[in-house]
Symmetry: C2
Subunit: 593 residues, 2 copies
């Protein structure tokens, strides 16, 4: 199936709704003008549709393959990755000092949507490299940075994150991997699982970031340190040296993302893998969180990126497939797109994708402001906003992404269940996103705990206030669709405030934890409504410009209305579920289940 | 993964909630006592857990295989099917006159849940045979019945339904298969797709029921006739004769149900397959509906049957897997079942499965009364009830089944995405159920059109009245959980009545069609709430008996409360969605999508 990057929709969201121009005012982001953003998005559209998209189905069918010699990616992947590196796609958001282009995160996130739409399995490799670069750039010594970052930014070396062990998934305190000091380095031993692109044949070297414990480590999460363990050791002149004592012992047979090797990694089978401490001893978990926050946002982008691909395929099928007389078409000469229920499914997909995209770009723009704004209080507030939105972007967008890819299957009828059609692959691929980089429950805990209870609801209160300001703008409009949005946005905000108040009034964490995922989902839906409300307002504003494309802009307003009428009622019921079902959720004894 | 049939839960629903004893009062169903039902369920539990369940994962991995000689099922399937036949499992609900046991549909449905829980791919073979038997028993000549039914009831011959052609899926009017009269039979030519168990090696013969057009057929659906086309012709003495001119030309590569061969069937490549007309010419579609209504109910049973398997696997994992300190367990010595969000997922699965099971058994019992009650008005009202509930059983239970199997994956965390775990198979298998035997949109159209608009809402009104009576019983209770159920059941009923009124007031079918699936889902959820409310009342009643198992019965009441608090708020928001979003759903031009 082909992929046509929705450049216009992405650019509209970035420029007209989120406001890239505000980010471009910041020192260091001056190049990120509207014109530049469109040029980059168009270039990325070409690359992803022409190079990455054609390898998506074949990569799924062939998968990555393991042997003693290492992991081989599917046919064409080595060449595609070489082109990715040559074009500099991996370097967009990285520091200029190490060869990156220093673009704002909101623009690079907009580009990365296309990686995951065109080929989610492929997109995972630079996603992980990016996390590793962030962690090193923030926490490693200059020597380590100088040795590793230029090649990683360039993309000729890729990066991995090695956290999970069989007994230590969500609970990283249970990590058993060890690091013994030896001269200027450490000897790492242990086994890591679920290592994405832990081995492959697309890059010259692979830079593993590994959590392990030093001999004197305190108990629990406070005893975890972070190490760099390269696949090939690096000589003083920067050339590649000996093969390090780390290897991939097997890869997983998975539901989806077949072409992305998920590796079991063994460190130190022959005495110990040489590793280098990143930052201070016992600070590894904190450093890893630097990677994880970026990675969580990126996985949220995957959530709607894959849904966009599913939508495009379903839309094409709905236009082509003829089946019976249709209520909207009148005769049997038009596609099933004229059956009202097929419209419902397409509208649900399309409007939800726009809402998720806008929220992710809004979150990224907040981090951009937090990084560069001259005023410290603005930086702080923006950081708080970005951190608050991150669990929504990750949790809500990935859960909704699975639902939408399932709708994409449904639109195809029986054909959707046949693998050759390709619709099923998107569902299989999408299903990992609510699991990795912290399950939805972890995102929900982050939202109710770190991001809300810890600051007494300050960040959430600021968000609600911003929403109410948008509500006032909606109410001032006499557009019928905008009025309809307001009619659903207002009670949704009230419901959310009521749930927030309930949450902040709880002393025992059990009740809020029991319905925390509902709390996350209701806030995700509401934040999506906030984005769509702003989209409607932006579309109406844009219509006043000369030569405005009215059909395009009217569609934006109607999509916002559909979203409000379809999704925002679930915020109201969500409040009831959050508050009412907390007791009964945990009311049974284990033996009664 | 092992499977333990929930005999106690099924028997409680059948006997204490749905009321098998009322069905057993009817002439012909006297044997279906409570004791008999439990004995049959226990025997079925042994067979399905010992024989069918162990073949589920291996069947998925191996799949069915095609060759010129025919389709081979996976290792062990031939032997398992032979045992199925030997034990008489296929014959439970069939007419005594043809060797069946004549048990009520509510009891046979209860048994069939276990087929689909233990091995959905296997269960499809008798599911299709049952549909074919029903169609023949109702519509075929005595000669055809005598020739085919005894062997099909016995199970030594299996049956198929041949409706779909590449250009004719939902729109059967587009069928092109032809039947030319020749002597006492017809020569059938054409291609059929998506034929479940169209060929396989488990039975001596395969009896295809095929829709085709006679030379003088009128246009459209009124020109379709139904034919019996056996794989092997049957001699006058009942022995098998020549191979008929029908063959499976390929099988599909599917997302799930790998072990169930989905066949492309070619009829008449060598001059024409010999077929026999069932009933009158041009009445085929009507006859096929006899099969389809049964099959739709059976697919609804699959929807929660597969979710039950997923639940059992997730529950076992949640008990075994240890990961960090838990809020409910206090330390790290207990499983993740003590994380509140894992409880939420398990409670959602468990309570929803009970609700769906109860609704399917209630629907089947209505058909049983409709078939045997001495009073014609009771028969009519029961038939109306059964027909009203069928699209809910099919549409709601299959959609919810997919959601629950996805939760089953989520509970496993990263392990859920690894195919060897088995959780992903349930999701892959479940995904077909909202598609085949009429997509969810078709069920929704049936609900709002044939089942509601056509009788001016009579059937739905009767159902609402029954629900209100249960609400009054709830309100009369002083049990805290029952009160909580009532608190959510009352506004849900009111919301549904409001949506019903809106539906019946529409003149243009476009608006109701645009939100018909939401309408179906809200009524499914509400009907589930009605079942769970009755379950709570039944549990409280049962607690008054001597030696009552209080922990078991208290769990039933709490599950009802959880269901009401988690699911019934969605009926209220569902009403808003149904009414408000109908316009915006169909508001864009095709080019704007």
């Amino acid at each position: 199936m082909s992929y046509n990057a929705p450049v216009r929709d992405i650019a509209f969201m970035l420029n007209n709704v989120v406001g890239l121009s505000n980010v471009a005012k910041l020192e260091g982001f001056e190049e990120a003008t509207e014109e530049m953003s469109v040029a980059i998005l168009e270039e990325s559209a070409r690359f992803t549709s022409e190079v990455l998209a054609p390898l998506n189905a074949s990569g799924d069918a062939e998968g990555a393959t393991w042997s003693e010699e290492g992991v081989k990616t599917a046919a064409g992947w080595v060449e595609a990755y070489a082109q990715f590196v040559e074009n500099g796609w991996g370097a967009l958001s990285f520091p200029v000092a190490y060869g990156g282009q220093g673009l704002p995160m909101c623009l690079s996130s907009a580009v990365q949507e296309m990686w995951h739409s065109s080929n989610m399995s492929f997109g995972l490799c630079p996603l992980l490299t990016q996390g590793a670069v962030d962690a090193l750039a923030h926490h490693a010594s200059d020597e380590l940075k100088d040795t590793y970052l230029p090649k990683m930014v360039e993309g000729t070396w890729t990066g991995t994150m090695n956290l999970t062990e069989p007994q230590a998934g969500t609970d990283l305190a249970a990590i058993r991997s060890k690091a013994e000091p030896e001269g200027d380095h450490y000897l790492i031993t242990g086994q890591k699982i679920y290592i994405t692109y832990g081995d492959h044949d697309m890059s010259e070297n692979i830079v593993h970031l590994v959590l392990a414990k030093l001999p004197d480590a305190p108990e629990g999460v406070k005893g975890i340190s972070l190490f760099v363990v390269p696949k090939f050791l690096v000589n003083d002149d920067g050339s590649l040296g000996d093969r390090n004592d780390v290897r991939c012992v097997s890869i997983e047979h998975k539901l989806g993302i077949h072409a992305s090797p998920t590796c079991v990694m063994s460190y130190g089978d022959n005495g110990g893998a040489i590793g280098y401490l990143v930052g201070k001893p016992h600070h590894g978990l904190m450093y890893m969180f630097t990677m994880m926050n970026q990675a969580r946002h990126a996985v949220g982008v995957q959530g709607y990126g894959i849904a966009e691909r599913s939508y495009q395929q379903a839309l094409a099928y709905a236009n082509d497939r003829k089946q019976g007389p249709t209520l909207l078409g009148g005769n049997d000469s038009e596609g099933i797109i004229n059956h009202p229920d097929v419209r419902r499914m397409l509208m649900t997909m399309r409007s939800s994708i726009e809402a998720m995209r806008g929220l992710a770009l809004e979150c990224a723009a907040a981090f951009d402001v937090a990084a560069k704004h001259p005023d410290e209080s603005v930086r702080e507030a923006s950081q708080r906003r970005g951190e608050l939105l991150t669990p929504l972007v990750k949790g809500w967008s990935t859960e909704l992404g699975v639902e939408l890819c399932s709708l994409g299957v449904q639109i195809h009828g029986g054909m959707g269940f046949i693998e050759e059609t390709g619709a099923a692959q998107h569902l299989r691929d999408a299903r990992i996103a609510p699991i990795y980089e912290g399950t939805t429950a972890i995102q929900a805990n982050d939202l109710i705990g770190r991001k809300t209870a810890r600051d007494g609801g300050k960040g959430l209160g600021e968000l609600m206030a911003d929403m109410k300001q948008v509500l006032n703008e909606l109410k001032a409009s006499d557009d019928v669709n905008v009025k309809a949005v307001a009619a659903r946005f207002e009670p949704a905000i009230a419901a959310a405030e009521s749930a927030n108040e309930w949450l902040l009034g709880q002393n025992d964490p059990t009740q809020p934890s029991a319905t925390s995922v509902e709390f996350l989902m209701m806030h995700g839906r509401l934040a999506g409504g906030w984005i769509m409300a702003r989209t409607a307002l932006a579309a109406i504003k844009a219509k006043q410009e000369p030569d405005a494309d009215e059909a395009y802009l009217d569609a934006k307003t109607l999509l916002a209305r559909y979203y409000a009428e379809r999704m925002l009622p679930l915020v109201e019921s969500g409040k009831t579920i959050v508050v009412d079902s907390a007791d009964s959720t945990v009311g049974l004894d284990i033996a009664q289940l």
